[in-house]
């Protein structure tokens, strides 16, 4: 961003202090911006420390350290439940090894009492044995502070930050402050490389860099010395040798080398304490580590180094007079320091936040409490910590829980992806490590590091060489020689939506048309679409010159598609959106939400069944009312019957086929009820599905009532008059437990409509030309999404045309139109597809049209004209609305046509 952002308060520094202040301020109606120079929060002192919640006996009474430590310790007890911060109240022991040390314990006890630390006591040697069996036998006594605890400092920092963001604060990462803007002795904002941010109040929580930040405002009152502390961390498999945090008696410089548990069950030892020059010096040293080891062995003499998994160093921000420096700048108005926060800063952070808030109030910042402050935080269940049922539940919520990415710590893909997209997202490898523990275990990321990096690249849509370890320039990988790998969306010449008969044929058609990369997207678990449940035969007479079953017809196409390596198939994937510039947004179990781009798109989504609601059958709403197709899937693919005494409403082919199927499966089909005076199914199905089994067909009848509480108990059937109005005195009852609806199919065009594709109000499918090109350039349609077919063979033919045309479009080879003629449905015609013909130079060949009659006619004339000129005239012995009529027009007759094409069906005179 290059502009200027305006806010009330800028907080510099995303450590535990800065984030705690942001959270505290987010209780009020304020605009808050927290700036962190690193790509993640918790990158300085907060990142590498002992993770101890001190009881509060160390600091001299009256110091800020003393009061804020005790207050902070108290506040964490509330924060634990409020924010779900990972902490454990394990208590601490300061161990005396000699009588000199014993005297120190007495001093600490006294100081603790002054500071208001509860429940302190000096524990004698014999009791120490049972409390900490591995403790050195040289220990003679210890100061027991049961109110001390341990916390994950990352978790605390992120919890504060997330709570702040949830309550409206803004966290900006990678924002290093290079200038503090001052006018008339007061701050007015800061400069970053991304632009200026205006604010009248600036909080300096920059940790070891607090002195430099103060200096930007011409304020030299803050002087910070970085003091390094080194640590060793042990594997969780080490039988944790201590229950509580063990301190030696303190020295002037530090509290000494500690032995303690972490909240995750590791053991850590450290830190030593050495002043360093650079605020960025986080190196460990051989001498430092041996100092840590020998220091730890004074308390735990038998500690073995075999289980050390890592070593690290942290920097304390030590101020001149050793106490925290919290207060207004003596030089510039509006600048507040929260600096010099060394131990017990982690413990004190929430209390520091309270103090800083009061300082801001006194400095004139209006603090109006929010009525809608949300104290809580969204919890993230960890897969590792769940019982088997809990794990199943997590998997049900998010299938990415089924994939373990970090074996050592049992971290799932869902946990990692969740943190990449969290409120305070992790966009670095270490950010994910600290949040999820992926890479924290024995292999230290050797196994999961590359995998986590790939997930980051995938989720952020960037190449792998953009993935960083932790800091601004900490890129992990370099691209190889040769062509650059792109992270842009995958591109396909042709993307086919739907893997049923239309989609399969369109995919193959696209390949025949020259497409080099084709993608077929199917929402079901397998290819083949509705054919998989149409187990009867009668498919493929035109296409394969033999009668096949639905699954066999599908299998032939599936085999052809699978044999072509240039066709990619994705299953269990639903298309959510197609933009007019052909970006296809999908979501699937294997890929999640993602986008591909397409040179051309073929819509092949098929159709759905008209439902009870759509035809408004009154009555009860018991179990046992199904659409015929849904029942067909249940019977033929799952092996369950929808009922035992069945009535079918509607004489469409699926209803007739189901009447036979259910009869063969042992059910009794009481009848097929059809409101029209003629059947909507093929004659062959009337004969072989009804007559063969003596199933009555009630023409000019409908169902006027459905009865039943739990299951259907019966339906009332009535004859209808010529206007399809039921005649009351014709009613009769059929005792059934199931009603199947076979009352029509509707092209499934919600996606097409979203894309802006123009639809035909009669076919309910897109308006297309002979290439099956819709009104949106590059978007084609074929199969039942275009218009409902009765023969799959025609679906295949039409889809091949759509696929070939799509490939031509993608290669910029689709001929440009000189003119476009509408194809109009005239007398006796319900609809014609394609709805238009584009005239192009050298068309050649014929154009095939599919049409439906409006009413049944015998001995009629099909006539096609343009501007009074006859293009086609054909006598038809019969025309039925249920059977699609196919005719072809020679393109030579069209080349000079200028007027719309009219198609009509009239009875012979």
């Amino acid at each position: 961003m290059g502009g200027t952002l305006k806010t009330d308060v800028v907080i510099i520094g995303g450590g535990v202090v800065g984030t705690a202040i942001a959270r505290e301020l987010s209780r009020y109606n304020l605009k808050i911006v927290l700036l962190e120079r690193h790509p993640d929060l918790c990158m300085g002192t907060s990142r590498a420390n002992s993770g101890i919640l001190h009881a509060g006996y160390d600091a001299v009474a009256g110091t800020k350290k003393a009061t804020l430590n005790v207050r902070g310790n108290l506040l964490y007890r509330q924060l634990e439940s409020e924010l779900g911060i990972r902490l454990k109240w394990v208590g601490s022991l300061v161990v005396a090894l000699d009588h000199h040390g014993l005297a120190t314990l007495e001093e600490l006890l006294e100081r603790g009492k002054q500071n208001g630390v509860p429940k302190l006591e000096i524990v004698p040697q014999n009791l120490l044995r049972t409390m900490e069996p591995y403790l050195t036998p040289e220990a003679i006594a210890a100061l027991w502070a049961p109110t001390a605890g341990i916390v994950s400092p990352f978790d605390a920092t992120l919890a504060f930050a997330e709570s702040a963001v949830q309550n409206g604060a803004t966290v900006l990462l990678g924002y290093e402050v290079t200038e503090i803007l001052i006018k008339d002795g007061a701050v007015i904002g800061v400069t970053t490389k991304h632009g200026d941010i205006r604010a009248s109040y600036i909080v300096n929580a920059a940790g070891v860099h607090a002195g430099q930040v103060a200096a930007l405002a011409g304020d030299d009152s803050v002087s910070i010395t970085p003091r390094k502390g080194e640590y060793l961390l042990f594997d969780t498999s080490l039988e944790c040798a201590v229950k509580s945090v063990l301190f030696p008696t303190p020295t002037k410089l530090s509290k000494g080398i500690v032995v303690g548990p972490t909240v995750h069950g590791n053991l850590f030892i450290g830190p030593n304490a050495h002043n360093v020059n650079s605020p960025d010096d986080l190196s460990t040293t051989a001498s430092g580590l041996s100092e840590v080891i020998s220091g730890a062995r004074k308390l735990l003499p038998n500690i073995s180094l075999n289980s050390v998994i890592t070593q690290f160093a942290g920097l304390r921000a030590v101020a001149e007079h050793d106490d925290f420096v919290i207060g207004v700048s003596p030089v510039v108005r509006g600048l507040i320091h929260a600096s010099g926060i060394q131990s017990p800063g982690l413990t004190a952070a929430p209390a520091i936040a309270e103090v800083v808030t009061e300082i801001l109030r006194e400095a004139g910042l209006a603090l109006i409490p929010k009525t809608n402050f949300l104290p809580g935080r969204q919890q993230r269940p960890s897969f590792r910590e769940q019982d088997p049922l809990g794990r199943k539940r997590l998997f049900a919520q998010n299938p990415l829980h089924g994939r373990i990415i970090c074996r050592c710590e049992t971290v799932t893909e869902a946990e990692i992806v969740g943190e990449i997209h969290a409120l305070c997202p992790a966009h670095t490898l270490d950010g994910l490590k600290t949040r999820t523990r992926a890479g924290m275990g024995r292999c230290q990321g050797g196994f999961c590091g590359p995998r986590v990096s790939s997930l980051l690249a995938r989720e952020l849509d960037v190449p792998l060489n953009a993935i960083r370890k932790d800091k601004e320039e900490s890129f992990l990988y370099f691209p190889r020689r040769g062509a650059e790998l792109e992270a842009s969306p995958l591109h396909y010449d042709v993307v086919v939506i739907g893997g049923g008969p239309a989609g399969l044929a369109a995919g193959l058609g696209a390949r025949q048309g020259g497409a080099k990369r084709v993608l077929i997207i199917e929402r079901d678990r397998e290819l083949g679409g509705i054919l998989n449940q149409c187990i009867h035969n009668g498919f493929g007479l035109h296409r394969f010159s033999q009668e096949l079953t639905g699954p066999t017809y599908a299998q032939r196409y599936i085999d052809m598609v699978r044999a072509d390596p240039a066709i990619t198939v994705v299953l269990d994937t639903t298309v959510l959106k197609v933009t007019p510039d052909r970006r296809v947004s999908v979501s699937g179990s294997a890929h999640g939400p993602t986008t591909v781009t397409a040179g051309a798109v073929v819509l092949a989504m098929g159709c759905r069944e008209r439902t009870r609601g759509a035809i408004r059958i009154p009555g009860d709403r018991p179990a046992g009312v199904f659409t015929a197709g849904a029942a067909q899937r249940m019977v033929n693919m799952e092996g369950y019957l929808p009922g035992r005494r069945v009535v079918v409403l509607g004489s469409g082919d699926i209803g007739l086929i189901m009447a036979r199927r259910l009869t063969l499966e042992g059910a009794k089909v009481l009848g097929v009820v059809e409101i029209m005076p003629y059947s909507n199914g093929l004659t062959r199905n009337i004969v072989q599905c009804l007559e063969d089994f003596g199933v009555p067909l009630y023409l000019s009848h409908t169902i006027v009532d459905v009865r039943g509480n739990d299951r259907v108990t019966g339906v009332t059937v009535a004859r209808v008059d010529a206007n399809r109005i039921p005649l009351p005195d014709s009613e009769f009852h059929l005792d059934c437990d199931c009603l199947l609806l076979s009352v029509g199919l509707i092209p499934e065009n919600e996606l097409s409509r979203d894309t802006g594709v123009r639809l035909d109000p009669v076919t309910l499918g897109p308006v297309v030309d002979q290439y099956r090109h819709t009104s949106v350039p590059g978007v084609f349609a074929a199969g039942n999404v275009l218009h409902v077919h009765d023969l799959v063979d025609y679906v295949s033919d039409e889809s091949a045309i759509a696929g070939q045309s799509a490939a031509a479009f993608a290669a910029d080879r689709l001929p440009t139109a000189c003119a476009s003629l509408y194809v109009r449905a005239g007398d006796g015609v319900k609809a014609v597809v394609p709805q238009s013909v584009v005239i192009v130079p050298h068309m050649g060949g014929t154009i095939r049209f599919y049409m439906r009659a409006a009413i049944p006619l015998r001995r009629c004339i099909l006539s096609v004209t343009s501007g009074g000129r006859k293009l086609l005239m054909r006598k038809l012995p019969i025309a039925k609305p249920s059977e699609m009529i196919v005719f072809e027009i020679d393109t030579s007759a069209l080349e000079h046509a200028k007027d719309d094409i009219f198609v009509s069906l009239t009875e012979e005179a």
Binding site: L548, T549, P551, T552, G639, G666, L682, T683, I878
Partner: protein, 124 residues
């Protein structure tokens, strides 16, 4: 004494409804069919009606619980229901390939029952 039956021709969309008269299992007279194909259909349908059989059989260890099957040739209309009933008890093991015979010579007829699709085995 001849018996007359109404038979709808299913060969073309016209769907001629004709009358067929039978005596001793032979067609002796028919009318109502407008073409040769219709007449041939009527004779066949009256004397030896045949039907394709399609149903499902149980699958063990497959990606789906049922396998659709089809008869290798049409079989006598009257034996279809009994064959379907018998096949309800058949269990085949995945994987199965389309065209594979899952039950040979069903009910002693010269007709095999064959798989009408591939059905892969399930891994877990």
């Amino acid at each position: 004494m001849s018996v007359s039956r109404k038979l709808i021709c299913i060969i073309c969309p016209l769907g001629c409804v004709g009358d067929v008269s039978m005596r001793d299992g032979h067609v002796v007279q028919m009318h109502g069919y407008v073409c040769e194909r219709g007449k041939n259909y009527a004779v066949a349908e009256a004397t030896n009606p045949l039907r394709m059989l399609t149903t499902t059989v149980r699958v063990e260890g497959g990606t789906l619980p049922l396998l659709p099957v089809v008869s290798s040739a049409p079989l006598p209309k009257d034996s279809v229901a009994a064959c379907v009933c018998m096949l309800a008890d058949i269990v085949v093991s995945a994987p199965v390939r389309e065209g594979e015979i899952v039950y040979p010579k069903v009910m002693g007829l010269n007709v095999d029952i064959i798989a009408s699709r591939n059905l892969p085995a399930r891994a877990l």
